[in-house]
Amino acid sequence: MTPAPATLPWHVHLAMYLRLFAIQGAWNYETMTGNGIAFALEPALRRLPGGRGGPAYCEAMARQSGYFNAHPYLAAVAVGALARAELDGVPAAQIERFKVAATGPLGSVGDRLIWAGWLPFCSALALLAFGLGASPTTVVALFLGCYNVVHLGLRAWGLRAGWRHGLHVAQALGTPVLRKGPAHVTRATALLAGLALPSAAVGIIGPGRAVLGLVLGGVVAGAAVITSLQGRIAGWRLAIAVLTLFTILSLVR
């Protein structure tokens, strides 16, 4: 068996990191992010015995292109761990078992930390900035800046942690930031939302209160529509419909 390399060359690590941004590029209902995982792993797999196009490389690429689904940012952990396992010569059956076991937890941690935690937090922060009178450019920059500091950092950390721990990456997922972080972020988001929503409403209504009735009516109508659609329409479809409505309104005004 080939001795495990202690480190990946920086350019291979960088290539894998950059490819992580395309991890959902070939998403489909059959293999989900499987193709993306193989794409991100490919620079490391070239270092298998026989090199690019060799039997080991082809077998690993075929194995890694199978079904996998996890949070796109936390998938970096899996990519790092799988690269380590493939280059360490871990048996294929154990690698397959790891992929099955990792998909749920990496989805769960990512969903709680990002979709239910950091994204709402950054949204509330941007909304508060708007309510406090920040310019549109500042609001957008604040949102994108805050969100992407964690987004980009999480992908980099995940790839490094996965590579360092290999299939024992559960140790890395046990870090307090991932275990306790989501609960703290959720509480902070609730606090920020409590400040941001009334501030933003005041910002929309303006000093003359000319559109007070319109805003209140819109809130009541929106609440009624969302309540009546509960269980009858997927949340993302509703979000796209509302976003489209706001875009049309802003263009008409």
């Binding site: 079904y67 937890p105 275990r179």
Partner: protein, 163 residues
């Protein structure tokens, strides 16, 4: 409160489970029924990392889960029982009468499966097993998250495709 949800989901513990179902149902514990995972501590450690603090996750074989069912049912917390495949849930239903309603939460592509819904792919043997489960009086439906409408088994089996 009790063990109120029985779900077949090949990803077992993931975001839809701990957030989608976990928050509205205030789930306090999960029971993962899988003979292989029950014997693999390193896999259990991974799944534990996927659960939020305050939510207990228990791993059991089919036999252990069937024996412990009265304890799960008597638990003061709300709970969800998960299996990764149809066969395991069928074995559990045969061993424990408490399984009265089963939700197909996510069964993804495999070479022998055909798409029924975007989140449910089934093989002919799995479809037969689910019909058998329904014939035993178990209500079977497909529902990935609580905000989507539950789809009865007959409608699932009649569906073709991923939309």
């Amino acid at each position: 409160m009790t063990l109120e949800l029985f779900r077949i989901d090949d990803r077992l513990v993931h975001g839809q489970v701990v957030i989608g179902w976990g928050l509205p149902h205030a789930l306090g514990f999960l029971v993962v029924v899988d003979d292989e995972i029950a014997a693999a501590p390193w896999e259990q450690e991974l799944y534990r990392m996927g659960t939020p603090e305050g939510m207990e996750v228990v791993f059991a074989t089919v036999a252990e889960a069937a024996a412990a069912m009265p304890n799960y049912q008597a638990d003061a917390r709300s709970g969800m029982l998960l299996t990764a495949d149809v066969a395991t849930m069928v074995r559990l239903a045969e061993a424990a009468a408490a399984v009265r309603q089963v939700t197909l939460g996510g069964l993804h592509h495999r070479a022998d499966r055909v798409p029924r819904l975007r989140f449910v792919f089934l093989s002919p043997s799995e479809e037969s097993a689910l019909r058998g489960l329904a014939a035993r009086g178990v209500t079977v439906m497909a529902q990935d998250v609580p905000t989507s409408a539950p789809i009865p088994l007959e409608a699932v089996l009649a569906a073709e495709g991923t939309e």
